[in-house]
Symmetry: C2
Subunit: 269 residues, 2 copies
């Protein structure tokens, strides 16, 4: 397809409105829209939910077609990881933070599959959701470091009407856990509100968020962090737009969410 | 340059006839020939000869032009490894053998720079010398594993008239060391001769080679190995074409060489 531009949306399937928004974004960016569905074994650690991860290829195909996908790539596991597969992509810094702490091999698996798919699809644009904020930051950095000639585009988190960030893993939640899971988005909204009204201490914002989350049933905090939006390093004062990111187990389901905290514009200057 | 094919020859410069043969090979393969010269810091370990590695960009430019190179890419170190660079490519198996034993980070550096250059140059063909046999095997595997749409082409070792494999590091040798260095190619030729006349025991071939090398002055063996040409795993019987590979320090200069040992065709079957 020489002369055409290609936008690419890699996914693990079980598509929801979050994925569809990525596809709509891709549709606007380029002549040809390619999506992939592949539950990538390399990014699941031992004891994680690779086998249980929800799959629905038929429904996904229909949804992708409706979203304007021209080519849907659904490879088999042994096509991408044949016997004696042994090449992986690593980063020394960004994976040390946030989800990398409890999932030490996760981002190596993510980078490896994304690089493979980039080489297969050869896109001009690739679209990733901001819900997996660290993943987006790591893929941006990998793309830059390894000189991939691909523009990485981030797309906003899509939420349920009550605020829960869309995720294929929400399917695991019982009705009660579903209610508890709202504590994540509520904690973020509270922090945004506090920053808007003058709170600039990360420690105070984090403490409030922790209370909000632990006050509901079946929650266990993995992390509540406020960090630099590029390096992910922790910050103590909200003196510029910064990332607030959470990972919380609700029952056995690990959920993540994040937002940007922006201090109010100083009207005196 | 749409519609044109590109062949690529990555080098560390200080070009000799070995490099020129790679360029001539590339010239035959494609419409456009691109070469690069970059002494890659990531593939030198602590205490190795990164700073001392010979450089002669002006002479190299003239030689490359004469060899038919259309584009010579000579990036600066901080263009390819800017501050905060952190992404690397690793392999879990092939780098465990041969040179990887004494140079544990070397092939991660090699794979990383080659992947970066592949993404910058976007070649259809890339040509590498068989003198760096393990490097060639690792790059072939990386290219396959990471789904680079690039054909990797190996080119035979080019030798001085007396048998010494061409290498930019030969420049380091004193006249006496230059004579000792001939033991490498002599040991390989003796092994080929022995196999042709019926010796099939790897242990016997290795022992003879070790004696040949240690019988000359200023040599210290790093390894003498007979292994599978693809997996590099040691073999004990020469029942098919196998790799014989050597690394030897001559004075302070580490030299490598290799050949294929092929058992005589069985005329009784």
């Amino acid at each position: 397809m020489q002369g055409f531009t290609i936008a690419f949306v890699p996914t693990m399937g079980y598509l929801h409105e979050g994925h569809i928004s990525l596809m709509e974004k891709g549709r606007q960016l380029a002549d040809v829209l390619i999506a992939s569905i592949f539950v990538n074994p390399a990014q699941f650690g031992p004891g994680e939910d690779y086998d249980a991860y929800p799959r629905n290829p038929q429904k996904d195909s229909a949804l992708a077609q409706k979203a304007g996908v021209d080519v849907l790539f659904m490879p088999e596991k042994n096509q991408l990881y044949p016997e004696k597969y042994e090449t992986y992509i690593t980063q020394s810094n960004l994976p040390r933070f946030l989800c990398g702490l409890s999932r030490p091999t996760h981002f190596t698996g993510v980078m490896t599959i994304v690089a493979k798919l980039f080489n297969i699809v050869k896109p001009h644009y690739a679209v990733f959701g901001q819900k997996d904020y660290q993943q987006l930051a790591i893929i941006r950095k990998m793309t830059h470091d390894l000189n991939f000639d691909i523009k990485i585009v981030g797309a906003p988190i899509v939420r349920e009407p009550d605020g829960l960030a869309m995720s294929s893993r929400n399917k695991y939640l019982s009705p009660e856990q579903r209610r508890s899971a709202l504590a994540l988005s509520r904690a973020l909204a509270q922090a945004q509100q506090s920053v808007a009204t003058g709170e600039i201490r990360a420690s105070a914002l984090i403490e409030t968020a922790q209370k909000t989350i632990t006050s509901v049933r079946e929650t266990a905090i993995d992390y509540v962090v406020i960090g630099d939006p590029e390096t992910l390093e922790e910050v103590s004062v909200i003196d510029r737009p910064v990332l607030m990111a959470l990972a919380v187990k609700v029952g056995q389901t690990r959920l993540i969410d994040n937002c940007i905290l922006s201090p109010p514009v100083d009207k005196t200057s």
